[in-house]
């Protein structure tokens, strides 16, 4: 640990404390996660093994990088991550106008979904996506998903998972209803909630308690029933005697959002997790396609530039 200087605490989780830190050799700001050692007789803590083995497989521009793993003779474990001071929550407050721009929101959403898709492709669900876990590098215009403390690998058969994951406001209905098994769709729901928050600066579903929160979701997305979500009524916390809400028109909540955006949002906030759009399909959604067309136009214009053209020809000549 001589290489690093521990700074102030920036986060406290179930399995460890995260400090801001400094790499004394490179002057790079890092995040240092120190795992709690509950019992020294248990060897290397299983939380440490599970989390590091998961992070070690991930290399993606939209996911924070694991830089180093350090342990000492007292069986204390530290993971060193890359760190950025700005997160999406702070960004929305500090850069109020910039962050409300339509193309900025689209750009950020695309990056979040790319990171989420990468995780899902690598058999990992984050399970706790919130704006303060999305770090922003303004210089490079990059969003990075951080804090995989609650993440879980799903490469083996799906089993019952602990219900108490994901900060309430971004929590998917299947978790709230106590479904014993859930899928990568929980992350897509959280991204949908983040999308809504970026558009209006307000949480679309904000209830003070779990039941209040559920009622809020139902009142906007409609009360799920056996037809829209087979099996929902037999979930442990399916509330009895709730009024039967009809789905609201999301357009009314987001008047400034283009129709494709509203469609994507409604697909991400689909109550039935089996019918909810996947991160992979969300990235191919029409909402992002327009951006691609623009890029193509730019490329065409670049090709018209004689210098570029020459370069292209040279490239073509290469065997």
């Amino acid at each position: 640990m001589e290489k690093y200087k521990l700074g102030k605490v920036i986060g406290i989780g179930a399995y460890g404390i995260v400090h801001r830190g400094l790499n004394l050799e490179t002057n790079q700001i890092v995040a240092i996660k120190r795992f709690y050692t509950f019992d020294c007789k248990n060897g290397v803590p299983y939380t440490t093994i599970q989390e590091i083995s998961m992070l070690i497989e991930m290399y993606h521009i939209n996911i924070v990088k694991l830089l180093d793993v350090i342990s000492n003779t007292k069986n204390e474990w530290y993971i060193i991550f890359e760190y950025l001071d700005l997160d999406l929550e702070k960004y929305m407050v500090t850069y109020l106008k910039d962050s409300m721009e339509k193309h900025t929101i689209k750009y950020i959403m695309h990056q979040i979904l790319s990171g989420v898709m990468y995780c899902h492709k690598h058999r990992i669900m984050h399970r706790d996506l919130t704006p303060d876990k999305l770090l922003i590098d303004l210089n490079a215009s990059v969003v990075k998903i951080a804090d995989f403390g609650m993440a879980r690998a799903f490469d083996f058969p799906l089993r019952a998972y602990s219900p108490e994951v994901v900060t309430t406001w971004y929590r998917a209905p299947e978790i709230l209803l106590g479904s014993p098994v859930y899928t990568t769709a929980v992350d897509v729901w959280s991204v949908g909630c983040i999308f809504a928050k970026m558009l209006t600066r307000q949480n679309l579903f904000a209830g003070a308690s779990k039941n209040e929160h559920l009622r809020k979701i139902f009142s906007i997305m409609g009360t799920p029933n056996e037809r829209t979500w087979p099996g929902v009524t037999s979930l442990p916390y399916y509330p009895a005697g709730l009024p039967e809400y009809y789905p609201e028109n999301l357009e009314e909540f987001f008047p400034d959002l283009e129709p494709a955006g509203v469609d994507l949002l409604s697909e991400m906030l689909c109550m039935n997790p089996a019918r909810r759009i996947s991160a992979h399909r969300a990235l191919q959604h029409a909402y992002f396609k327009k951006k691609k067309r623009k890029e193509k136009k730019e490329k065409k214009m670049m090709i018209l530039d004689p210098i570029e053209e020459e370069k292209e020809e040279e490239d073509d000549d290469d065997p």
Partner: protein
């Protein structure tokens, strides 16, 4: 061509609304095929007779330790632990003395348990397996060595990761039918191949496919029924598949397979000596007769 095929497959997937789980729809499978070789034992290592003999001892011990970790039996634990053993021992120098070697095997199982079960508790594990003379500090040091040797890549890509993907090539409609097919392939063939050192030369995907196409006792459809669908899979190397299948069939003919169908006895001594093969076979036959399997 390859990428075109993949794209085609992806676009076809989009229309599949029957699929209940998102991750299946996402098909992380391509990535699995790309990385599977990184989770294999070093090529050629187990051609050495002594290496094979030691592995046999290790596998036996790993299977015993995986039966009892203070939790319900989890078949994935022994599967992972054998994989850690293979990768570690084929790429790094062997622990010299017998005690460290035993410690190394135990630590492979401990890490596998920790990967599978949150709440794993080492003292309970040592006690239930009557490993009274093993100190937790020694285990911890060995865990460090293994974790660093394997560069923390403990989420191994094994043959199990490919089973569901390959099964999706068959036109099964009944969930029960799929479950039976999977269980038979796993219990009859796949576990056997995983525990036999000679199969460490083959890719996990090849082993999974072989387990599915191999003949089954007392099942009506001809072997072609099992073989045909997998011939369409672009990721499989058919020569390799044939070699793996031939090796398995040679063993089935020599009746080697039966010994693996019986779960090991839960009793645990320090490091068990390898039994004489004939003696072992006789004992397992007797046990199978008792269970009415033969």
């Amino acid at each position: 061509m390859n990428s075109k095929q993949i794209k085609k497959e992806e676009s076809e997937m989009e229309f599949n609304f029957e699929n209940p789980f998102q991750e299946q729809e996402l098909k992380p499978i391509e990535w699995l095929f790309e990385t599977e070789t990184q989770f294999m034992a070093a090529q050629g290592f187990f051609q050495n007779h002594e290496a094979r003999r030691l592995r046999k001892i290790a596998v036996k011990k790993i299977r015993q330790l995986s039966q009892n970790g203070g939790f319900r039996h989890d078949p994935f634990v022994s599967f992972l632990a054998v994989n850690y053993y293979d990768r570690c021992i084929s790429s790094y120098p062997l622990p010299v003395d017998e005690y460290s070697y035993g410690l190394f095997i135990i630590s492979c199982v401990v890490i596998a348990w920790k990967m599978r079960k949150s709440g794993f508790y080492l003292p309970v594990f040592l006690e239930t397996n009557r490993l009274y003379n093993v100190d937790y500090r020694q285990i911890e040091r060995m865990e460090h060595r293994i974790l660093y040797a394997l560069k923390w890549r403990m989420r191994s890509v094994t043959a199990l990761c490919f089973l569901d993907f390959f099964i999706s090539f068959y036109n099964f409609t009944d969930i029960q039918e799929i479950a039976t097919f999977k269980r038979q392939s796993l219990e009859c063939k796949l576990l056997h191949m995983h525990y036999d050192a000679r199969f460490t030369e083959f890719k996990p995907s090849t082993i999974a496919a072989t387990a599915l196409i191999a003949e089954r006792p007392n099942i009506a459809p001809p072997p072609a029924f099992f073989c045909e669908p997998l011939l369409r899979c672009q990721y499989l190397n058919m020569d390799e598949l044939e070699n793996c299948h031939n090796l398995l069939m040679a063993q089935v003919r020599s009746n080697d397979l039966r010994t693996y169908l019986v779960p090991p006895s839960p009793s645990m001594d320090a490091i068990a000596e390898v039994e004489d093969d004939d003696q072992k076979r006789q004992r397992s036959r007797k046990r199978m007769r008792e269970r009415g399997l033969v």
